[in-house]
């Protein structure tokens, strides 16, 4: 991989963005890349929009992804995915958890898809919806591990240049023993 790989994670405070970031950071580190990431704590975590950035590759300077430079945006919530889509460039893929956290003035899925598809003078968005929360709720009785499902999906579908074995090692390094099986199961479910 010659180019630095840029990921933006987005969602709502409390959805597990920081754990997801930790796993990706660790997997990139195991993969021998330079890695830097930037996260936010505090007020934004109390149910506000949260965005975190990860960059890895041969040489990484800034911990922040510039506008239009994301290779992958993982959104844990639909509206937040649409919100973040303004930062997408030509190469950006959007992986969106088909999950709604209600908000006054929020849009329906149909309206959101319409907005995402609208090319206007911007590049047409390359996006896919994955029912990560729903699947995890039904099959694992736990919604919070949707993050691992999405990561599994991204790795399985080669949306992120990280080897499965490195990611699994990273999961083991980051997740406490008690929750390890649950997290690995969610990852495998998404990976398919």
């Amino acid at each position: 991989m010659d180019k630095t790989f840029n990921i933006i994670l987005t969602g709502v405070g409390g959805q597990g963005i920081i754990t997801l970031l930790q796993i990706i950071d660790e997997a990139a580190f195991i993969g021998g890349y330079e890695v830097r990431s930037s996260e936010l704590h505090g007020l934004s975590q109390r149910g506000g929009s949260v965005e975190a950035h990860i960059r890895f590759g041969k040489k990484v300077f800034s911990p922040m992804v510039s506008n239009g430079k994301a290779d992958l945006i993982i959104a844990l919530e639909v509206l937040e995915g649409l919100r973040e889509s303004v930062k997408a460039g030509k190469q950006t893929k959007l992986l969106i958890n088909e999950y709604f956290l209600p908000l006054i003035g929020s849009l329906t899925k149909e309206e959101i898809v319409k907005q995402l598809e609208q090319p206007k003078d911007s590049p047409k968005k390359d996006f896919c919806f994955v029912p990560a929360s729903e699947t995890c709720k039904n099959k694992l009785q736990n919604e919070i591990v949707c993050t691992l499902f999405l990561l599994g999906y991204a790795v399985g579908n080669k949306l992120v240049p990280l080897k499965k074995e490195f990611v699994l090692r990273a999961v083991k390094n980051v997740i406490p023993q008690k929750y390890l099986d649950l997290n690995i199961n969610a990852f495998e479910l998404g990976h398919g």
Partner: protein
Amino acid sequence: MKKILLGNEAIVKAALASGVSFVSGYPGCPSAEIGDEFGKIAVNTGVYAEWSTNEKTALEAAIGASFSGLKSLVNMKSFGINVCSDSLLPLAYTGTKAPMVIVVADDPSGWSSAQSEQNSRAYAYLGHIPMLEPADPQECYDFTKLAFELSEKFNIPVILRTTTRVNHQKMPVEFTQDEGSGLRKIGTFSKNPHQFCTMPPRVLEMKAELLEKTEKIVAFAEKSSANKVFGSLASAKFGIITNGVAHLHTLEALDEMGLKVPVLKLGFFYPLAEKKIEKFITGLKKVLIVEELDGYLEKEVRAIAKDANPKLEIFGKNVLPEIGELNTEKIAGALSKALKVKIKDYFKIKNLKIELPRRTARLCEGCPYWHVFPVLKRIAPEGTIFGGDIGCNMIANLPPHSMDDYMFSMGAGLGISHGVKKSTNQKVISMMGDGTFFHSGIPALVNAVYNKSNPLVVILDNRITAMTGHQPNPGMGKTLMGEDTEELKIEEIAKACGVKNVKVLDPINMQDLENTVKEFLEKGEVSVIVCKRICALLAKRQSK
């Protein structure tokens, strides 16, 4: 060893490796993880760690430790330095005995609950206190160690000034794992009033000593590798001076634009390595100073250039914003203006603008405040003034509550409410959390009672300092190190402050709250209602 660390974790590792044995602070974003981490490891490493009641008592505790021969670390968010400055300035005069490092974490762009976009660098000038600015977690580690060395060498407190993007940045960090001895270090206080008591006329001698010391630190800074040139200065006509995280964005922008430009990165904000700057700018035609917020460095460079290179064209705040944090795009824009080159479309994405409802912070599910805000809003007569304060209760300021009429700093809600009450005939209700009450609410309460005011004070006691990540406070009977301690009762303190009308209630009994608000609003003196119910997140965690 090498491991991925958060900037704040790297500061903790470096403090341990430097032999810290006394840690005090007050939790705030983005510095809170420093104290939290010490709370977890204190017992095993032998370090003493506390959450103090506020930043002033935190600094003073560390001064006591330093005078007793213990290495100390003080941690706080930006506004903390305002609170402790009263003791910080004399500390520069007395100097430290054992080394002390003070971490002050600023928040450009106000990602946390910021009440101003404070640039704490100004305190370095105000106090003549050395200040280092790391750019990333590795430098958090290296500079914390350097700060301890500097403090030890010159017997002066050293400030490590960070920003959100440094504290909350992660990267693999090379560090030495220090487990500590596991034994609490005991110091000795050797009497030395000549050095530790600040009174005129001695204080003027002390100032002279401080200025003399500063000269020596300048010489140290000139040689330090914390001030470093990246790239080659040879035959360069254009150069960049950077500090903090903006340095990383600068390197990114240069790389992206394919430019080879020498960059002088200043790790020392104060004292400044003026000779190094002079050497850097002497042969240049143009220089760009990339710093976040106010252009302090730019002013310094302009002053140096007057003699060193009067024809030098200096770019800084004329091409970079003074408001908000910097990023690669903003710096690329500045570079294009300074160098008169066009930037690739790359940074100019023509993108669609989407109008979406803002998702702001809100009270958590089951939060006890859900019971308080609506009752106050409904019961208060029309035109009632609501004083807001810091912490989770500042969410009262956001929809759907939209209640606060003013919000300033810790404990300021009540301070201002008193002034409003004395100046008008309007009803005033002032809200405050338990953490804030202990931090700086008590003096405001005493002032209101003493000066015969009568706001209604509603203390939202959720049994913990919640907003910053659930830190213990004096109201809950636990210390940071998990020891049992006296559980201070807010209602008893209020009574001891002379408040006649005090009631403790569980806000889930909304009728009780309603009746009490109605009754207390008619009182001629200060009244206090303590709405006591545990934070929902904490309750959930405790039940696990």
